[in-house]
Point group: D2
C-alpha cells in the first residue's frame, strides 16, 4: 500500500469529543442521531464548511436529506444550535451555524447537578 | 461557581474520534446508534473499564439495557468488536472488548476505495 | 504494507490537548519541555501507567533520565502535579501522578484574565 | 463565575495529537520545541490561520520571534513542513503551510521499524 496515501489518512486528524458531552448528551435531551449530527457539524466547521446543507450531512449519515433537515430544524428549535450572520473580510455576508448554545446547555446542566450534590452534602452534614 | 469543580470538568478530557471513522462509519455498515455505542466503549476502555455491561452502556445512551445487549450482539456477530481473554499481573483472568477489528474493517474499506480510484485514474490515462 | 499493521497504527489513538492549555501554558510558567513532559505523563496515565519513571519518560523525549527527573521535581515543587496514594481493589498501595493541580492553575489563570477584562470593560463604560 | 464564559472555554476544543507522533517525534529528529511549534501551527491552521507568522507563534511560546523564525527555517529545510501556494475562490493567491511531509516522515519511520521487526522475526524462526 502506498505510503503517501497512508500519510494522507493520518493527516486527516480527529474530532475531539469532550467526555462531558459524550457522558451527558442524553440528559440534555439529545438522541444518538442528533448527537452524531452535531459531531458532523463540528467537523464540517473545523474544515471551513460553516453552513453544511442537509444533503452534505446526509452523505455521511444513515439518514436521508429530508431527515437531516428535520433534525436541524429540531436542534434549532430546541436551542442547541443557532444560525449566525457572518461577514468575511471582503464584506460578503453568509450564514453559519454556531454550537455555542450546546455548550451553554451543557454547563447549565453540570451546574444544576453540582448544586444538587452540594445541597445533599449539606443536608447530610446537618443530620 | 467553584474553580475546583471547573478544573475537574476540564480534567475529564476528550475522546478523539478519527475523521476517517466519522466520515465512513456509514459505509462500514454502522448505524449512528452503533457508532455512538463504540465511542462509549472506547471511552470506558480508556478509563480502565475493559468490559462494560449493557446496563453501564445504557446509562449513557437513550437505549434500554436490552437494546444495548442486542447492539453488542450484532457488533460481535458482524465482526466490529471481539471479546478477548485478559490475564492481569496477578494471574486473574477476565474478559475485555477489543475494537481492533473495527480499525481493520476501516483500513480494508479505505484500501478498496483507493484501489478503485487508482484503476479509474489508469483507465482515464489509457483512453 | 500490511493492512493489519496500519489498523494497529490507527488504533493507537490520540491525546486530546485542550486549546486552552496549548494557548496558555506559557503564561502558567511552563516551558515547552515541561509542557511536552506533561503530555507524555497524560498519555502514560491513559494507557494505565500511573507512575511513569524518569527513564520511561526519557525514552520518548530528547532529554536524559536525569533531566526528566529534574523536570519532575520542578513540576512537583511548582505545584503542577502531585503524587497521590492509590489503593487498588486488592488493597495493594502504590503511587500515581495526578494532573489535577495543572487544571486548577489553568482555571485560576483564565479567571484572573477574565476578571481583568471585565474591569476594563466597566471602566470604559464609566468614562 | 459566568456560565457563558465557561461555555466559551469548553467550546474552544482540543487539538488531537496522534500517539504515534507523540511517541516517535524524537526518532524523527524533532526537539520538544519543534514538536510544540508544529502543534501550534496545526492549531492555527484548524482555526483558519493558514500561514502563521513567527510573531504569532512566539506569542504562544517561550521563544522569541527570531527563534521561531529560526525553527521554521529549520523545519522547512529538514523537510517537515512545506509552503504551498493557495488560491481562494476569488482567485486571490496566498501562501500556506502544509504538515503533509511530517506525516510522510512518520509513516516512513514506522514502516522501516516494522520491516526491521519482520526481519528479526524471520531470522529467529530460521534459527
Amino acid at each position: 500500500m502506498d505510503k503517501k496515501k497512508i500519510a494522507e489518512w493520518l493527516a486527516q486528524g480527529s474530532v475531539a469529543v469532550p467526555k462531558l458531552l459524550l457522558n451527558h448528551y442524553k440528559y440534555l435531551g439529545l438522541s444518538e442521531g442528533e448527537f452524531v449530527l452535531l459531531l458532523h457539524m463540528h467537523s464540517f466547521i473545523e474544515d471551513g464548511v460553516l453552513f453544511p446543507t442537509p444533503a452534505e450531512l446526509a452523505e455521511k449519515m444513515t439518514a436521508a436529506p429530508s431527515e437531516c433537515m428535520e433534525m436541524l430544524r429540531r436542534l434549532l428549535q430546541k436551542g442547541f444550535i443557532v444560525i449566525e450572520e457572518h461577514t468575511d473580510e471582503k464584506g460578503i455576508r453568509s450564514e453559519k451555524y454556531s454550537l455555542q448554545p450546546l455548550w451553554e446547555k451543557l454547563v447549565q446542566y453540570l451546574y444544576t447537578e453540582w448544586a444538587k450534590e452540594e445541597r445533599q452534602d449539606q443536608q447530610e452534614e446537618e443530620e
